[in-house]
């Protein structure tokens, strides 16, 4: 049977077909849908972990017991999981283990665009890179087979354009007859004391040598000879762009990108007049080919930054490859009026909006974190000074208050979401208390991992497989860490929010303020409730624009009405959160009749 699947859906299908029993992940764009789709297959135990390190450790445990496992994360998640990964490379596996790293060239939804092919070389593990959904499925299966054949974790690297593109995939059945998992005692291989690890390291080097030798004859590394004036070595989505833009050049398409098939590369180089590597981000393949003593070009033409597109590839290669012209420029006449931008925005009724509005008015120096609330950086809320990685807000605040004046200390506020706090904020808060850093931490507890599309977490009360679960009591957790001042507020009550935040900012001790209203996108019954809607009385609206300071998508300025213009609330978008009503000094905003 054929289906149109995204790369992520195809990886989930591949895991199912390969007999995977355990799958773990922390949500992160562009990887999130892998685990969500794995829940379609009841044979697999799928779970969200609090972070990627835990995901990999859980997968390792299952693998050591003999189960085939998949663990998925976005590129920066591999940084978090790097600690277990580098030693897992030494222990090897029992049941096949595939680690999916979904990279994000162009940073469509990320804070950096690190090239995780470097991790495969660094950790000395093989890496496969699919170029469409069919290969996503096939390579997931192959990764698990290679993993068991060579006793190694295998990385499967996608990029956003592979994860989130759809193409046609032929479905197969799930394999049967795999050995049943059971506890295996193999301490010398799995207890990485120095004496054992010293034995394992040479085996890692030996494994990579064997893989490199086998790579020359692997079907996923494919030489396609066409016109031999130019030969291009490429992999992943770049292969598709090369075929699109230069249909007649010869290609060496790599499926295994670590280790490289050096024999095959030499063969290919000998058959073409000129050798080029087309790869996004770092010159990972190019530098290795050059180190083999082969004359090759690549990054002198192809950009180091951002993703490629057919047009960018054409632009990069015009003038150096025969027959390639820059994309046609658009005729002048079509310029048209300048178009206002359309940045993303917090949803109408988002419980974060009033908090950032208040922090802005209190002139707080906000150390921010990763989530929807990073949008608090954008105008008109404009209340964020730092945002680096998961959990960094709290450490950043601790560092700032170590060095600034007592007066400035009061302004420092860390803002972090519930899921990000579980991911890697807890240790930051532990440090803040332990080392007597006097700052305020706001935990925006909306009971969901919202940015990536509403995933459950240890505070939401449900697992990925929709089973009821213990709900962590955030206030209790913070108290257990030693925070004496933990206060929970209703973020839709601006007066309360302002009073509590300013009191805690003044206090020369560590304090935590928790907001407890759910995300408007939570679909689970009874969690988010749309309140009675609000409306603007155009007669009473003075056009003062105070309500526009919220940047709520439901509130629209109508310049042509009233004396100076009036505000209007779109009833299709209003959720009845009541925040704008509290800002109106003229009582022009009230419940719709």
């Amino acid at each position: 049977m054929k289906e149109i699947l995204s790369g992520n859906e195809a990886i989930a299908r591949g895991a199912y077909e390969a007999g995977v029993l355990v799958a773990t992940a922390y949500p992160g764009t562009p990887s999130t849908e892998i685990l969500e789709n794995i829940t379609l297959y009841k044979e697999i135990d799928a779970s969200w972990s609090p972070n990627e390190k835990v995901s990999l450790e859980v997968a390792m445990g299952a693998s050591f017991a003999g189960a085939r496992t998949l663990v998925a994360m976005k590129h920066v998640g591999v940084n978090v999981a790097a600690d277990p990964l580098f030693t897992l490379s030494y222990t090897g596996i029992k049941g096949g283990l595939v680690l999916v790293s979904a990279d994000d060239p162009e940073m469509h939804s990320s804070q950096n665009e690190q090239d995780n092919r470097n991790y495969a070389r660094f950790a000395k593990v093989p890496m496969l890179e699919p170029s469409d959904s069919r290969e996503c499925k096939e390579f997931t299966r192959l990764a698990l087979e290679l993993s068991e054949q060579y006793d190694t974790p295998v990385m499967l690297r996608t990029t956003t354009r592979i994860s989130h593109s759809k193409s046609i995939v032929e479905l197969d059945e799930r394999v049967t007859g795999l050995p049943s998992p059971a506890l295996v005692q193999n301490a010398a291989k799995q207890v990485m004391l120095p004496s054992n690890a010293r034995v394992r390291h040479p085996l890692v080097e030996e494994r990579m040598r064997k893989l490199a030798a086998a790579a020359d004859s692997m079907a996923v590394n494919r030489m396609e000879l066409r016109d031999t004036k130019v030969g291009v070595i490429t992999a992943g989505v770049c292969y598709q762009y090369v075929r699109e833009v230069m249909p007649n050049v010869s290609t060496l398409k790599l499926g295994l990108v670590n280790p490289l098939p050096s024999g095959l590369i030499r063969q290919f180089a000998a058959k073409v007049d000129r050798l080029l590597v087309v790869e996004e981000l770092d010159p990972v393949i190019e530098e290795q080919v050059r180190a083999m003593g082969i004359s090759v070009s690549g990054k002198e033409f192809i950009p180091l930054c951002g993703e490629l597109t057919p047009g960018r590839l054409r632009e990069a290669l015009k003038g150096t490859i025969e027959g390639i012209a820059a994309p046609a420029a658009r005729p002048e006449k079509s310029a048209g009026p300048a178009l206002p931008g359309r940045p993303p925005n917090m949803c109408p009724g988002c419980p974060h909006r009033g908090v950032f509005y208040t922090l802005n008015r209190l002139k707080a120096y906000v150390t921010g974190d990763i989530g929807c609330y990073t949008l608090g950086f954008l105008p008109p809320l404009s209340a964020m000074e730092t945002c680096v990685c998961m959990g960094a807000s709290i450490g950043n605040a601790t560092g700032a208050v170590k060095v600034v004046s007592d007066e400035e200390k009061k302004r420092v506020v860390a803002v972090i979401g519930d899921s990000t706090f579980f991911h890697s904020g807890v240790t930051g808060l532990m440090d803040m208390v332990y080392n007597n850093a006097h700052s305020t931490v706001v935990i925006l507890d909306n009971r969901i991992t919202a940015m990536t599309g509403r995933q459950d977490n240890p505070g939401s009360g449900f697992t990925l497989m929709n089973e009821p679960a213990h709900q962590i009591d955030l206030a209790l957790l913070c108290r257990a860490l030693g925070v004496k001042h933990v206060r929970t507020i209703n973020p839709f009550d601006l007066e309360e929010t302002r009073r509590v935040l300013s009191e805690e900012m003044e206090r020369p001790e560590t304090s935590v303020v928790i907001t407890d209203k759910p995300c408007v996108l939570v679909k689970r019954e009874g969690v988010f409730k749309r309140g009675p809607l609000y409306t603007v009385d155009a007669e009473m609206c003075t056009g003062c624009r105070a309500c526009l300071g919220l940047g709520c998508p439901a509130i629209q300025w109508r310049p042509a009405e009233g004396k100076k213009g009036v505000s209007y609330i779109n009833p299709m978008l209003c959720t009845g959160c009541d925040v704008c009503r509290q800002l109106c000094k003229f009582d022009a905003i009230g419940r719709a009749k």
Partner: protein
């Protein structure tokens, strides 16, 4: 079957149902026996930002992205976003757009005005331009929420795929209780 690849761009604002429309298009092309690829960005852009979905079909499709300047059809869910994507089109491309204006944040806040004369700008460069009152026609079909399907019908007229595949894809992708209205909306759009 033609050797060439047809390039379709669907553009609008996050939350407008662009992904479902591009799924229906892709499903139709697969049912009709073509190779299909589609691509779009999820995540940050969903929070009310601009959305562009690329759908390509033909005998064999390589890039999941429509090469810049090679779009054959632009399916616009919102007027300003339609205009924003014109540079992706090739000369003579067809533009089918919903006559809908969704103000972006700067316009909502009164810092900028929603630009005037967008339809005229499009028509000046792309004579094959159809501006559809999706809301009105969808209401005629029985539900204003089926506006996207009216537009889809209008797009379908410009593609060389038999009606039966479109209807099969609708049946597969649209919830049962909404199917009748959507079928009506589709055929209404197809007759434009």
């Amino acid at each position: 079957m033609s050797e060439t690849v047809t390039n379709i761009l669907l553009v609008g604002v996050g939350g407008q149902g662009i992904l479902l429309a591009s799924e229906i298009l892709s499903e139709t092309f697969m049912l009709a026996g073509f190779d299909v690829k589609k691509s779009e960005i999820h995540g940050m852009s969903q929070r009310g930002g601009s959305v562009v979905s690329h759908v390509r079909y033909g005998r064999e499709v390589f890039s999941p992205l429509v090469p810049e300047g090679e779009g054959d059809i632009l399916f616009g869910f919102e007027l300003m976003e339609t205009c924003r994507s014109l540079p992706l089109l090739k000369p003579g491309a067809a533009v089918i757009a919903n006559d809908l204006r969704i103000p972006p944040p700067s316009v909502l806040m009164g810092r900028e005005a929603y630009p005037e004369g967008l339809a005229e700008t499009i028509a000046a460069e792309f004579p094959d331009f159809l501006l559809v009152d999706g809301l009105k026609l969808a209401s005629e079909a029985g539900n204003p929420r089926a506006a996207n399907t009216v537009l889809l019908g209008a797009v379908s007229r410009r593609l060389d795929v038999a009606e039966e595949y479109w209807l099969q894809a609708l049946e597969k992708m649209v919830p049962k209780k909404a199917l009748d209205v959507n079928r009506k909306a589709f055929l209404l759009g197809r007759s434009l």
